[in-house]
Subunit: 284 residues, 6 copies
């Protein structure tokens, strides 16, 4: 994907490489390859910023996320940096230390959640090493595609802690088999792309990273040609439906669509269907 | 199924054909085959009425739903009729138009939800064309069975809108893989009976519509021979369990069963089990 | 497993056999084999007590549950004993009888829920006959492993009642395909280990009970070597995540981990990782 | 109020008298004065119909509700008629009877809830006898005004049952003092207009029915002159806020207003404010 | 009240004095007057036991709760005993200590919540010193009555902690003014009986303890003469209504009453109303 | 209050004046007196920033909020500036315009919510003009104190819109009388300090702004001398209790306090109580 056009408005990031492989599609690469794309605080702050920017950028309609290079999607938290940071968090008693830690965890959670809140669909390509924080991140994506070489693991138990950046909150809601979810979260064992596909964590497996990214970009390109009002509304309403009861979701859907169908896209798409032309949609 | 006995008390419907292939089983067919069983407002009003009638009809214990003919379960909303209707909805500003649209969407939602609220189990046979509204309807059924020729699609994004009659509210709750749910809802792509089976949207696939309906009627016949108190209670409690937390669901279950087991069915079934006879159950 | 060390502090139970096949692992066997391990009130009271004891026992970190013998995990409620008990529940009108029944059901529910509330992971081995109450129990476990000979069934509809000890409250939350859940709960039909694996109800299938227990003990042994703070926190947070929305779950997670990571395990595990030694964890 | 203009489109009701004391205001009177305005099924079916009609009638923006005559707002359920109806509800066992009763209660609840769901504000004038069902009805209103002679009571406990048409569901949400709520609901004692005012159940007390209605009509007239988009939105959002958490309510509010402020009323009201003229608002 | 008949089945308690001032009424007195009725673990374990016993005792229909003697309702937690207990809770790190503390708090919470879960109405008489835990307890009662000499305070902030036995969870739900709730909880200031009455925390104020108890017993006696099915159902449904949304509460109410009105009380009360006799109700 | 010490770390704000009238107390004044302290986007961005800064500033434990000068707390939104801003928000259709408006409303909501999320208690002094946005802001405070001259109004209906910055979401949760809440929100009428006190919206009324601020500072000073762990925990748990059911709140409380009581404050306060000395608490 290195031949894709870099997006100038995203050139200031140090750890996020953003290019545009096709119109209205942004490809975000976590870009700290020498450290296996591991996350320090600087990285997750940028991660948050890039998805907030994309969320309101009318030039981007769909996002593909991968790691840079061929060694890791991300090896997760940069444990060495993190433990140094935490050690410096001095506090005079466990309650005061708990407040500092809570603030730290919540800030970290919010940074990663920025991808879930991004109003554009995110297709996440998991390849090479994708452990720990990699799963927290992947759970915030809309669609997951794997390279067959990926090594996946909810690794946190092996460093003596429960995962706290979102995996345990979201995985029970996005994979149907709780027996499997508990197995991989409690054991911290590796699982493969094929297993991820079989349980429904991922939607597709491709032979290598390049072809997985190619598939993701292809899917993104197709979505980017559709009405952005329809696509972004669908993402919002599915996320709402996952979190709320049916009666609440139906009501919210009615409120949402009562103005969404007043957009030009609905009639444009209807007309194109009748005339068998390809509709063009305004920016959103 | 044309040889099944028509049910006289349902003979007044214009777009719903209701017959009884076996005792206590109703087969409802969406009956507008020349228009691919597409839904106008008249159709969905009848759809609602038929399921409200069945819900309180002690002669019906289980329902099978299919389309009439061999071209479509339903091609969804009759877009031409719908767009004409919406065009006539005049309003002086976007807020006033939103109110009209909201009322319209909510009335439509309630009509389709009538099938979910029907207290008898509904087995939905998906065959031939089953797109758009077909999926909203299928999500309200209890069990889904496919003919292998079915063409399934959450089609709404392709007409420039998010699906608003229930698919986005219910699909995340009835299929385990959110990655798959988002894929099909965002892309509006076709998916096959086999794919529906693999992800758990459907429970069975049969070679053609006739055999799918036969399987559904067989399943319905078996359910209809069981205690209606047990069967209808199970449907109610599973729906409640999907929508509420475990503690609330256990409490509701206890309240429900504290009177349900006072019915004659419980002791009748127990006695039949001991005596190895077949129990007969009163109407409900 | 009869060669496993009996655990002396659990020797007073009549219907629960508790041994320790490996350090920090308890194997609980439902032990009423002549009656197919069927449950009377005496059995479920003991079932509750054993899991409450384990929950606060620092010598136990992981539990394996199976039936004793090779005829049944459990054949469920001892219907004969139960019906005798209910018949003696005299009341002067249906409302008063409902109160007695409600109290009875809630007490029964609470006894089985004690396993879900046990703070240590529970791996449930389903083998031979595992019907009715067996499924209510299995739904309270964290991970389910099947012997290939198991006969599974949500049997209650066949005795004229809706399952009321938890299956209908929990199954929609732990298996992704609602179409399958409704099929097995409404029809009361048998389903196999392979089917349980395919839909995600179970995580593994082994050729017979012995090898299924062996696999469960192996998994339990591996979990028992990990940080108990990490493992028990992961169980708690996954259960919370299943029951609450994402925002609430993230908040709860942050509060939880703000003190959990102040435990010695986190730094011990980090150090062990760097030094490539095996960490040892204090009791919890 | 007998001199108010009858509203022709509401002339077909037998038990509901609907007049218009001022532009866009409807005064609904429960009209069965010889029976103290007690409710039979025929009455509550009409009650439901009249509020559904008003909800979508652009000629009505605010509603005042009172009883007809000077003997009662309503004496509640017509117990004699009700007990006759229930006695004819034959069923072969308590479970089957429970289903009939449940359907009956739910239908009754829905009829009264129609007033809460009516999108126009309802000001309820409580006067003379207002017991039992009167409180269920009053809890569905937006604002309650009392005549000082009113006799109020949550009477159901005195006929051997818990109130089931909404008082117990709504009163804890609309009056702050739970200690008072439980007192009046458990004891079935009478309470006065002054007491209703002191605890916040009512907003105003007037010396007699005539002046209470006059005050209600005055308030209604003032509301009817305001933007209907603003008034109806405010009712909807307050009801939503009562039922949902703050985060959900803020989100819903944002979705709602994102189209509501595109109405002509917002700029009309702003302009009128600057020019100190009185705005006129389109129908809604 | 010392002249009231002691209830023999409650004679084994050490810290709870239970007498019966009138038929079907139990008066529970917290009975550790030399220590201002302060709570040690032994006391709260008995508190829990007595309310569990009352909940299923058909001889008791209503409860009055007060302190024994004229010095205190309760001065709250016995801080000295508590601090000694906590000091002995040894743990090797803050996370392990947190687990012990959490178990301790939850056990304490459950003991006090037993009064809220008691299915019979509880009228709490607050007199003399009533601080700290006294408020947690009072929040679990249904109705609160004060002696004018009572000294009330949410005292916990003054011992360096947030109240954790229920005040902060329940007070915002049972008193309407959040501004007042936060004032008294944050400041730990004393507030008077009159203030408690004005904000709706209490329902009545009487000149001294004797007369407050007399009023409570009078109210209890009146409730005890009513249908226990109606009274207990009303308590349950009001508690449910406080915790759930309106739609859920209406549904639960319908399920509950569909069997409750099959009790003999409903027709007995109706008949008594017509014949103007006093109904008698069976035990419950 | 002009003689209070300005807080240097807050000197960069243009529209927020922050001084410290006593140790650990910050007095925030909305400072745009020539425009009646009306809010433009610049003002609310600063409002959000100042409360985020205070939330993590260990030098501040309690906040008093008022308007600067003697003309207004705030006259609300600067309507002229706002309407100019909205007019420039160009969009090609109502759906696209709705997205811009939604983003605008949500950003505005988040800015005001920052005060509710601030972990330190906020005492809001309402004086002079306090209409529209003033009420949205006051609803985010913990305690409200009025000057008797204040003119309060939920003004939004009079500019043709429903209040959307929080009043409609929060007022039903912080004032007990829904009848009153709907009255003032639907009618947009003025209400007085005395009325605010009577319904529980405010906790105190003082003769003028100076004395109201004095009372607020006095209360703040008293809170600032207490354990910050106890005070901030109490605020958090009360807010949680308002938004969640009792069972969830009790659980959250137990988790929270399991580490909070490990702080030094608990034993310091206990010791001080025994020794009758005044405790000193570490920063938080």
């Amino acid at each position: 994907m290195s031949s894709a056009t870099p997006l100038p408005s995203y050139s200031s990031y140090e750890f996020m490489l953003v290019s545009s492989p096709s119109p209205f599609v942004a490809h975000v690469e976590i870009n700290r390859p020498k450290k296996l794309n591991a996350f320090t605080q600087d990285v997750w702050v940028e991660f948050s910023r890039v998805f907030r920017q994309i969320s309101v950028d009318p030039e981007v309609r769909v996002v593909v996320l991968s790691g840079a290079g061929n060694r890791a999607f991300t090896a997760g938290l940069d444990v060495q940096a993190a433990s140094e940071g935490l050690i410096t968090a001095q506090a005079s008693d466990p309650a005061r230390k708990a407040k500092l830690l809570r603030e730290h965890i919540e800030e970290f959670q919010e940074s990663i959640s920025a991808m879930e809140k991004c109003e554009k669909p995110v297709i996440c390509v998991l390849h090479d090493i994708a452990i720990g924080l990699a799963i927290d991140i992947a759970c915030c994506a809309d669609i997951r595609i794997c390279a067959s070489n990926v090594r996946l693991s909810v690794k946190e138990v092996d460093i003596g802690m429960a995962a706290d950046i979102g995996t345990l909150a979201r995985l029970p809601k996005i994979v149907g088999s709780t027996s499997w979810v508990k197995d991989v979260c409690l054991s911290a064992r590796d699982f493969s792309a094929e297993e991820a596909l079989a349980v429904g964590f991922a939607s597709q497996v491709h032979p290598d990273k390049a072809r997985a990214v190619e598939a993701a970009v292809g899917m993104a390109t197709a979505l980017a040609e559709k009405s952005p009002i329809a696509v972004q509304g669908t993402k919002e309403l599915l996320n709402y439906g996952r979190e709320h009861g049916t009666a609440d979701s139906l009501r919210y859907t009615a409120i949402w669509n009562a103005v969404a169908v007043q957009g030009a896209d609905f009639s444009a798409a209807l007309q194109s269907g009748l005339k068998r032309t390809r509709p063009r949609f305004e920016k959103l």
